[in-house]
Symmetry: C2
Subunit: 146 residues, 2 copies
DNA sequence: TTTAATTAAGACAAATTTATCTTAATTTAA
DNA sequence: TTAAATTAAGATAAATTTGTCTTAATTAAA
């Protein structure tokens, strides 16, 4: 469903959010350890999230990645997915037709639309805040137990 | 959402079904032309569909691919997707965790479940027959206009 | 039985995604 | 101002997916 890059991006954003609640910046190393992802690849994804304004980076000593506390509740999964995978999840045809719309639909256009609308709704209504709070409370987890 | 292989597999199956209604077998060449896909790659996917019993192949002169008429209404999209992409669409964790269940869910487990269940339901309740009939009636299309 | 037509299979190649490594640029603090 | 700590960027490599090509195996019909 999502690319690996997107999976890492979501998990990294959650971990950054958790730490930003406490005013702490985190490094790619910490992030990669906490979400069980390849560090250098994760760093690339963080760069993309910074470019898209989802997270902030501070260079130099005592630097790291962070998210403005007041933004955490406003950031939706859709923004993270969009920053990394683009909008193909919204606009792409289920069967890969270049143009697929009501006028000239692919065979699964209507059926696919229901599923995609559900996905879209989920992404647009799920905030980083609620995901981060669930991790903090122990209701969900960022990686498999070692 | 689906792999290219899966997209081609679905479109190919629909085209084969349409022709099987009329008792005609079709070749990989015809199929690839009709669904606008790379021929040799499509042939590989057809082999997988044959191995999984979704379609039949007949070698030699006057051979080609076909589907038993009586099966067309019974074949569901889920069988095609499963033959090509496996069951990861059903069992995989939205964030790639190796184990993700009610006991130890990933951050999007519940939210993702709703979307995946919708997709699963769609795939399991959409028959090759209805997709093929919609193409025949001109209500949907297998490729973009040239 | 032979030939022509066809799918099957496997080796290969290209493109994309995932992952790593090295160096540059920036920033804070001493 | 210098040094240390950090992210940014770009080159490279590995893995996977997508796509191609050649040859083998099979089959129907003449």
């Amino acid at each position: 469903m999502f690319s690996k890059a997107c999976e890492y991006g979501i998990k990294a954003s959650i971990f950054i959010a958790i730490n930003s609640f406490e005013g702490k910046r985190v490094s790619p190393k910490e992030i990669a350890e906490e979400i069980d992802s390849p560090q250098a690849f994760t760093a690339k994804i963080l760069q993309a999230l910074v470019r898209h304004g989802v997270i902030n980076s501070v260079k130099g000593a005592y630097g790291g990645f962070e998210i403005d506390k007041k933004d955490i509740a406003l950031i939706k999964l859709s923004q993270i997915v969009n920053a990394i995978d683009g909008d193909k999840i919204y606009n792409g045809c289920g069967l890969g037709l270049h143009t697929c719309d009501e006028n000239r639909p692919c065979p699964v256009h209507d059926k696919f639309k229901v599923v995609r609308d559900e996905l879209k709704h989920m992404l647009e209504h799920t905030s980083l805040e609620e995901l981060a709070l669930n991790i903090k409370s122990g209701a969900s987890f960022l990686k498999t137990i070692t």
